[in-house]
Each structure stands twice: as C-alpha cells, then as structure tokens.
Symmetry: C2
C-alpha cells in the first residue's frame, strides 16, 4: 500500500492558520468600508530560517494579487493591518517562504561581529546570492546588483571592503526587494472577505404597505399615495423604507381576510402569493402603479435620504406564469396538481414552492438570480428575502456571492425565523443581515446571553443581526399585553443593542396590539386586507421613536453592534450595557427596565477601565432620551439607578468627561 506524496515537498513553510476567516476561509467574513482589518497568519517552518510573508488580496474575479509585506510578531505569528479601499468581495491569501538571503545575511552579520575566520566563505556565498537576485530582476535593478557582484568577485578588492558592501543597508534593501520566492507556500484555496457599505451595518428600516396608503383609506393605495408618507418617515429618522412584495398577486386560491380559504369580492390577497396572468417576479401589481411609478417612488425616497428595500419571495401563486412556462420547476402530484407548501396540518394553498431537486436546477438558479438582477437594473439595492431557509442552501451561497461580486453595494436581509444553525449557515452563505430571536427574548438575563452569543461568539464575523420588535407576521405576547412602556422600551432596546433595526410601521407607532385569537399574530392582518390607519392616533409613540433614532444618528457608538459590553446590575429587571466608538470618543450607557409595569431600582456596576475612567474620577452622564437631557455626575463604578416605566422605561446616557 503506497500513497503518492501529496505535497510540494520543497516548500518548507506551512500556513497553519489564517485569521480572521470563517470555516478556514470557505465562507466570507464581513467588515465595513473604513474598518482596519488585522490579518494574522501562523507560519511554521523547520529550523531557524527566517520566514518572509506577503499578505495577498484581490477583488474576486480579478487575476492579479496586490501584496503587502507582513511583519513577524514572534511565536510564528505574522500580521498585517489593511484597510480595504473599496466595498466588494475580496479573496485573500498568504505567500510565505524561507528567505535564503535574509537568513544568510543575519548569520553573516553575527559572524562578522564575532570575527569568524570563515568570513571569506560567507562573502563568497553572499556574492552568489546577489548574482541570483540579479537574475530575478531586469533593467536598472539588475544592473545595480550585477555591479556589486563584480566588485565582490574581484581579487583586488579587500575582504573588509567586500564585507563592508554586504553590510550596507542600501545594498541589503536592494537584494531584499528581489526575493527568491520559487519555493513559496500559498493557501490551498483563497479565503473570502466581504467589505460592506455603512448602510449594511447601520440601518433603520420602516416597513409599510403601499396599498394601505390611499387618502380615504378605503380604496387600493398606490406608490404615489405611499410617497406622501416619506417626509414623515424621514423625519422620524429612518434610513430605509421597505414594502412587502409589489408583484401581481395570484387570483387562484387567493386567501381572504384573516387567512380565510375563500375570498369575498374585493379581497386583495397576500402580496406573498406572487404571480398572476399579469406577470410574476419581474412585474408590478398594476393597482400599485407602474415600474416608472416605483422608480419615481425610489427617487422621492432618495431625496428624503431614504433607500428602498424590496421583498423577494421565491414562491408562486398557482397562476404564476412560471407554472405553465417551467412546469419542471415544480413538484407535480398524480392528480395533475402542483404540490403546494404545507407543514401538516398547516396548508398554504395560495403558494407553490419551487422544487430545488429538479433536474433543471441550473436554469432555475439562473432565473431566480435574474430576478434580483432585474430589480438591481431598475435601481433597487436592498432586498429583504422572504423565508430563505425554504430554498436550497447552496443556491444562496452561489447566488449571493455572484451578486455581491457584481453589485457590491447591494444588501440582503434574510427573513429566516428558523433554528440557529440554519440561520447562521444562511449568513455564511452571503446574507448581509438576518432577522433574529430578539422578539422572544423578554427577560434581561436571556437578552444578555443572546446578545453575548451574537456579539462575542464566532458568529459575529458573519452574522449581522437586525432587530425587529414587530413584523406583519409577529405580534409577540409581550406587545399584545403591553403598555406604552413596552412599545417604547422594546424599540429602545432594539435600537441601542443592534445597529440594524426595523419596525412594521404604522402598527408599531400606534401600538396596534390586537392579536388574532390564540396566535402571536395581528388580527385583521394587513397581509390579507387593506387597512385604515389613523397615522396620527392619539398616544402614538412617534416622538419617542424619533428621539431614539436621532440619538442613533448622532452617536457613532450606536452605529455598530459588536461593540457591545454589558454592565452588571443587582436587579434582574435592569439590563445595562455600554457601546463605544472605536476610539472611545463616543460612549453610550443604556439602562432599560424590562419590567414594563413597575418601577425598578438597583445598582449598575460599570467596567471603568473599559470606559477609560478611574475609580473616584468624576464623570458626567447626560440622559439623551430624557427630553430635558438631565445630566448626572457619577464617580464610582457602582451607581444607583431607578426607572419608572410610566415615565420612561430607559435611560440612554452619553458619557461625558
């Protein structure tokens, strides 16, 4: 039994690890444009030879690499700091080799210092190394090296003069610049990195249904109607507006109000049941307007500083054109119908899933990708993807990496309310952001432990959370039974814990909390009907949301998620945490009373060293959430806090010196 030697045997450096990287580099890790990234390679060779290493990077799809020399930090660690110059998908790699010249030079210098009798031989070796270096380059560089070689080989030149030349730092630098890299080691497969734009990490989404925006609240609203809401949304401080799917809604098996199996006349159906004789995923529901109207909406939004997110739901109503045009993309039953989505006893008769095991999978993948491309071409850059966990994992991995490579400014939010490993796998597959379990973390301790998982475990490099206190699908019991403090408090929590947040708009502001009986869902859900909203309903929390958003927009510490540090409290209802800008120029301390009904008080213990403060050094904290912006002076780690939810469920302090 003999195995072939599978290695490049003469290449003596091994790359034991390359950091950061996700699963050995096969999935991209994420950073934001402007971030300085420290790359670390663990490079191991035998013996005492000097290792040299270059960090190599390129935009995915390019051929040639840009190289940066790495510094030897000792203990086999080589590092480089790099700030990517642009957003995009990058590949990175390391080139490492035992450097014959550096190695000889270090020994030569020591031997010369020790007046080693063998120094003549060392000079000869040096001359040979210079000669080899001259062969590796051209033009002036080569000429210069050859001139030194001639000098070193001349019998008439004294040994000490030759030795002097070889000690010259100018000479050293010139030879060093022409290394012999013929035996360099590279990683088996380059690792991946995605550099995102700011909005990928700091975003405030506002979701609403354009069809509910008509002036009378009774007729079907249009993009034009929805445009009228933009100034108010911008004033509240959001930076993304997001619509549920805007494609034609299936007529066949259309669902009625409250998810009824039968419609009555005028029922508008679920926007997620996509496709009818009018068209499919590349068409616009005619009652909303035309493609031009949608583009006009995007332009109006842009004028208000808002970007528009589109919902992509890869599923078809039974009358979607795909069903006839590509029957092979669906699973047919012996009775000649297509298998609809179900999770017995639940049935989704208005929705047909694609069959990702189809033999025609390649065409299906390209068609689905082309849906994104169609809308990207129309100007959309942000996509909220519906239920990605019901589409093949490897499809996303391919599709998203292709799209991000071609359109680096696009953003993809995964609406995957599923098991943790599947959520994280989707993030590795390329989703920019993901929905989370925030809604179901209703006690301080469980909120802290969840956030520690998100911001301190390995997932922080690839999974960027987006916190939604509500969605059209989810009205949590906490809100159903909640008070005004619950709505304000949970928005404050979301907005200060996570730099990416969103709400399902009018419903949240006016504190709609009527559940469909026995469910975690809204009654008379806008998903199945037009809804009349009293946008100015008394007691609405728009001013509190606006204040929180303004604080987010004005404090860089709140524009990142992984900069979160918890502070201990001695009351189980109080959650306290700090967020810091990278240079500590902006420091926020948040304390939330997660008991939304009763006053809670206790002590918060601050990690003073993290804040750059010393015990007994006084500092001021300004409550930005308090309309009077009350300022307190503290000087110890342990401080008393009291929160009456009927007045305010949260302090959002800025720490000032």
């Amino acid at each position: 039994m003999k195995f072939k030697i599978p290695f490049a045997g003469r290449h003596r450096v091994v790359i034991d690890r390359l950091l950061p990287s996700v699963d050995g580099g096969q999935f991209p890790f994420k950073r934001v444009l402007g971030d300085q990234i420290r790359f670390e390679a663990h490079l191991i060779a035998d013996g005492h030879d000097k290792i040299r290493a270059h960090f190599c990077y390129r935009r995915r799809g390019q051929k040639s690499w840009t190289e940066l020399p790495m510094r030897d930090e000792g203990n086999d660690v080589f590092a480089v700091d790099w700030t990517p110059e642009d957003i995009g998908v990058y590949e990175y790699d390391v080139a490492a080799w035992c450097d014959g010249f550096d190695n000889w030079h270090a020994g030569f210098v020591k031997k010369a210092a020790n007046q080693d009798p063998q120094i003549g031989v060392e000079v000869q070796i040096g001359a040979d190394l210079l000669k080899a270096a001259a062969k590796r380059c051209k033009g002036d560089a080569s000429k210069e090296l050859r001139s030194w070689v001639n000098h070193l080989e001349k019998d008439s030149v004294s040994l000490s003069e030759k030795s002097g030349l070889l000690h010259d730092t100018y000479v050293y630098d010139r030879v060093h610049a022409q290394p012999d890299r013929s035996l360099e080691t590279r990683v088996d497969k380059p690792a991946l990195l995605i550099v995102e734009r700011e909005l990928a990490v700091f975003s405030s989404w506002y979701e609403y249904f354009p069809r509910s925006c008509s002036d009378d609240g009774e007729t079907h609203g249009t993009f034009k109607d929805a445009e009228k809401r933009l100034p108010e949304i911008a004033k509240m401080g959001f930076n993304i507006v997001y619509f549920p799917p805007i494609h034609p809604i299936g007529e066949k098996n259309r669902k009625g109000r409250n998810n009824a199996l039968e419609t009555v006349d005028g029922d508008v159906g679920s926007p997620w049941a996509i496709g009818s004789a009018e068209g499919g995923h590349k068409a616009i529901h005619s009652e909303l307007g035309s493609v031009e109207d949608f583009q006009h909406f995007m332009e109006s939004a842009a004028k208000q500083g808002l970007e528009v997110a589109m919902d992509i739901a890869f599923q078809c109503a039974p009358d979607h054109p795909y069903v006839k045009e590509h029957p092979q993309w669906f699973k047919w039953r012996p009775d000649g119908t297509v298998q609809y989505a179900e999770n017995p006893p639940k049935k989704y008769q208005d929705i047909l899933p694609f069959d990702f095991e189809t033999e025609d999978w390649e065409a299906l993948w390209f068609e689905l990708k082309s849906v994104f491309e169609y809308w990207i071409d129309k100007g959309v850059r942000i996509f909220r993807v519906d239920n990605p966990h019901t589409k093949a994992m490897e499809f996303w991995r391919w599709c998203l990496l292709e799209l991000k490579t071609q359109y680096p400014d696009t953003i993809y939010l995964a609406e995957a309310f599923t098991r943790p490993k599947r959520k994280y796998r989707l993030a590795k597959a390329g989703f920019t952001q993901g929905y989370t379990y925030f809604t179901w973390r209703n006690h301080a301790a469980e909120m802290r432990s969840y956030l520690e998982e998100l911001t301190q475990s390995e997932v922080k490099d690839f999974f960027w959370p987006n916190f939604w206190p509500n969605t059209p699908d989810i009205l949590h019991e906490d809100l159903q039974k909640g008070t005004r403090a619950t709505f304000i408090g949970r928005y404050a929590l979301a907005a200060t814990l996570s730099s990416n947040i969103g709400i399902y708009g009018p419903a949240y502001e006016v504190m709609d909390h009527e559940p469909f009986p026995g469910k975690e869902e809204y009654n008379n859900n806008e998903k199945y009907q037009l809804k009349v909203w009293d946008w100015e309903a008394p007691g609405n929390i728009r001013s509190e949301i606006s204040r929180i958003n303004r604080i987010r927009n004005q404090n860089r510490a709140l524009q990142r998620t992984n900069n979160l540090i918890f502070a201990d409290t001695d009351n189980e209802h109080l959650l306290a945490y700090i967020k810091q800008d990278f240079d500590r120029s902006n420091q926020i301390l948040v304390v939330v009373n997660m008991d939304w009904r009763w006053t809670q008080m206790g002590h918060v213990t601050l990690p003073l060293n993290v804040l750059g403060l010393a015990e007994n050094q006084p500092f001021r904290i300004r409550d930005l959430f308090d309309p009077r912006e009350t300022v307190y002076e503290w000087k110890k780690a342990r401080n008393f806090v009291k929160l009456d939810p009927s007045r305010s469920p949260a302090h959002i302090f800025r720490i000032e010196r």
Copy 2:
C-alpha cells in the same frame, strides 16, 4: 464576469460541521482503542424535509466504507456513537440526504389521522415511492416491495386497506431500508482519526545509556550489560526503556567531554552525531553489539513487560555514508565543505543537517521513512524523534501518516522543545506524543494554567503530552538547587498530571544535580562520555518512584491525561487536582506542595458534584503515597491540608466511599 456553479446543485443537504475533527478534518484527531467516540454532524437543508444521515468510516487505504445510521438529535444535530474495533488510521465522512419516502410517510400519517380528503392521491404517491424503492434493490427485497405495489395499484382493493398497508411498520421498515440516495451529500474530503493502543496514552519511559552499563563502569557498555538493568527498571514500574541513538558515532569533528571541540583519546562522542565508515542510521554502533544483540535486548525487555524505544535523529556526522552517497541532500559551501548545523554563535560541527530544499527531496523523504521501516522490521515499535522541528513540517505529515497507516501499533514521541505553535503543528502532523514545557512550570499557578491549555483547549484532541522532569539535555535550576523533596515532588507531579511520563534514569534516581557552570545542563554530561553510576547511591529515590509508578499502574484514573480537573486552594504553593476514570469508579485527588523547602498548609475546595458527592456526605480518602496509607474522613467541599516537604511533598489520595 460569470462564475461556473461549483456545486452539485440538486443535493440539498449541506454538512456545516463534522465533530470531532482537527482543522476541518485535514489532520487526524486521536483516541485510544476502547474509547467510545461521539461523532456529530451539523446537517442543514431547506424547508421541512426529513434528513437521513449515515456516518461512514474506513481504514485509510481501503476503498469501501462501513456505515452507521446517525440519530437526529434536533436543532440540525445528527450524532452517532462508535467504538472503533481496532487501532489504526481511519477516514470518516457523512452521507446525508433529504429522504423523499420518510418525508412523504410523515405527511401521509398526519393527513390520514386528519381524514384529509386528498388521501387517495397520497396513497398513489406512496405506491410510486414503493415502486422506485423496488427498482433500487434486487431479489427477495425487490419482490416483496413489488407485491405491495401491485396491491396498492389494484382497483379492487379499498382505499382503507391500501392506507393500512402503508401504515404497516413492517412495510415502512422495508422501504426505509432502500433509501433513494442519489442526491446525497458527502464531505469534500474525508476527515482523519487515529486510534492508538493503550501504551500511546499511558506510558512510563526510562531512558539510559547502554554504554554506561558495563560492570566496571569504565569500559564501554554493551546491550548485554544494559540487559542486566532491566529487572530493576521493571520493578520500578516503568513500561518503556529508551536508549539514545545506537548507531555508529562519527569520527570526524567528534566532540570531546563537556562538548569540547577536540577529543582526547578514548572519547566516545555524542550518540546524536550519527554515522561513520561503520554505517549510518540502519547500522548499530559496534561497541554496543550487533543487531542480534539489540534484538536479544528487546526480547529480554519484553519478558519484563518493557517495550524498547529507539531514538531517531535525522542528521549526519561528517563521515556518515549519506554524505558521499547522496551529496545532493546536503548544502555545500563554496569551500567544498558541507554547511553544519548552527545557530550563531552556536556551532554543531559534528552534525550536518539535511537540506530539505534539495531538488532530490522525494528520494530523501523515502530514504528517511525507510529508516523507520528498517527498525520496525527488526521489531521496534516506539520511536523518540530527535528535534523534529528542524526537519520539514510536511515531511513529517506525510511520513508519519504513512507509517501509522501501515504500522498502527507504532508510537512516535516528538522531542520538539520549540515554540507552542510549532509543537502543536508537529502533533497535528502525526506525532503520537510530545515533550512539553513541564520542566519550566515551577509555580502552582503556571502549572495549572499550562495544564488547562493542554487538557481543555482544542489541542487536547491531537497533542498528547509526555512529562519529563529531566533529560540528558535539561537539568532545570529547580533541580540544580533542589532538595530530595524537589526530585520526589516533581516526579509525583509529572506522574499524576500526565499519563505519559519519562525520566533520564540513573541521574534522576540518584539526584544528580551538578550543572555545567552557568547552564541548564548536566556537568560531565553522559552525552559526551561514559559515566560511572552508583545505581545504589544512598538516599536515592528509587522507592518513591516505584511507589508512584505502582499507584499509576493500579489506578486507571491516572492512565489518562485529559480527565484532569483542578481544585482551588487558598495557598499559592499548593496545587490540587482530581483525576477520574470515565465511570468515576476510580477517583484520585492529588495535592502537591510546590514549595519544596517549607511546610505549607491551606484549604482545598473540592468540586463535590464532579466527584458525585453531596455536601455533608462523609467520604474517605486514602493517601496511597504514604507508606502507611493513612485514611482520612472528609465530608465537606472545603478541607484542610498540610504538607511538610521534608516528610512528603505530595498526597496522592484515592477517594473511597
């Protein structure tokens, strides 16, 4: 810019992780024969489809896989427990697929229970699935399936009868046994596992120089002389005897006593300067005896229950036959000499290293591997490898995996006193055991933190430490200045912390502690001269070593390393720890006073839950190291301990109920 779809697109399950595995499976992790291994795969698919998975393993080099069904533990975790039936190198993999039949069956059962009107169509689909299963098998299995299909397709059979057939568990099991695996997913490259024999994890090495074993202590000792020491070594409770290299010693540039550059007549030279006109790595130094004498020595050792370890040092004296026969394996200088080993200003003129960058590297690799094979053929199974970190990393990875595949009972101890990452890389490359920094951990806190790194970090799966209180190269200051308690205490520490240990024999027993001035080395080192040992020197610690070894041999808890759990103490000199057998049938508590001079006392806090004890539940502890085996009764977590090093530096308690 278009990229090819690099995936098998229809295969919907992804294998997100496979545990245990080292660096994604590219390096082997280690277990001992008899260990039950829990393998875990994180398997993710889209939607609600049922995943089935088989764990696949095979001996490396075999073609066919053995498969074990994995159980779905929820949350995308699939697991299997497997106890390998033999030692060896294994490859393992997972086969996972969305199971169409299981999936249909689960839905069918629910729909039938709900009296779904569509049940007729479901039965038709079931019949189609059975028909497909019949095609996937042969003979009786296929016949049986086809008979059911006929039944299901008969118009005369009632729907309820058909439904009954499809509910039958016997029918279910038969179809389940013929899954459609055409779209199964496998890992990209199988992962590696090495199953070792017991001696790989529980070994007590005794090193001595056969040349110092002559009766008169003056003439050059032989294997025959060394044989006479075997009964005593066996009586002390060791299970491996190990000799420094036994090959011909170079004549050229031979070093004199205390590493002198010049020899005087009769100087025997360093056994690590291998090779002379007599031969090289496949020859025996004639003054020690013949190959037959060596084999006789191995047989005598075996009769005493001892295995013999051989030293492999891949380097050559200047007169080694390789230098003439394979000049291309060495680095030649312009003056016609070979570059000797050096680390300026240190010079090792008697040792020429191989040039692993030689173009003839493949021949070099095969020749070096053949050295192991030569001695394996002669009966050697254990190798202590000298300075492996000065030979190419990838050479070891190839060589050791080949050797372990072919000779699974061989054991390789890496003498790599080098930086941590390089030590660990060598372990990943296939060394069974490695020397450690034990010698340089001289305070309780640093010993604890080092052991936590070894036994609790990721390295525990591939790096198995071997603790040596001394070696011919290392006489630590702690021992130089040590008392009898130091020698006893450090042996007790080594032997109870690590299941693999060794000493450089007579020197340790008789407490030789005279350093070469200013160095961490022995004076008049046996490496360069014959040494006269008074094996029975008064005050020797042979009986203490014997007692400690007997305790190790009789208590399974001490025969593993990774079962270590520290207990807190309130005295910085006291180190306390527990070792447990896998089923807690054997529990050892060790307390060592690492102040070798003064009495220290304090409290040890036991993790009672780990010991399976309750607070206030009395238990007995028997001090096995105390010749009187004193028994104490404790009943609390916190207990008082006092150790006077002049009496005994350590307690080795067995916990008894």
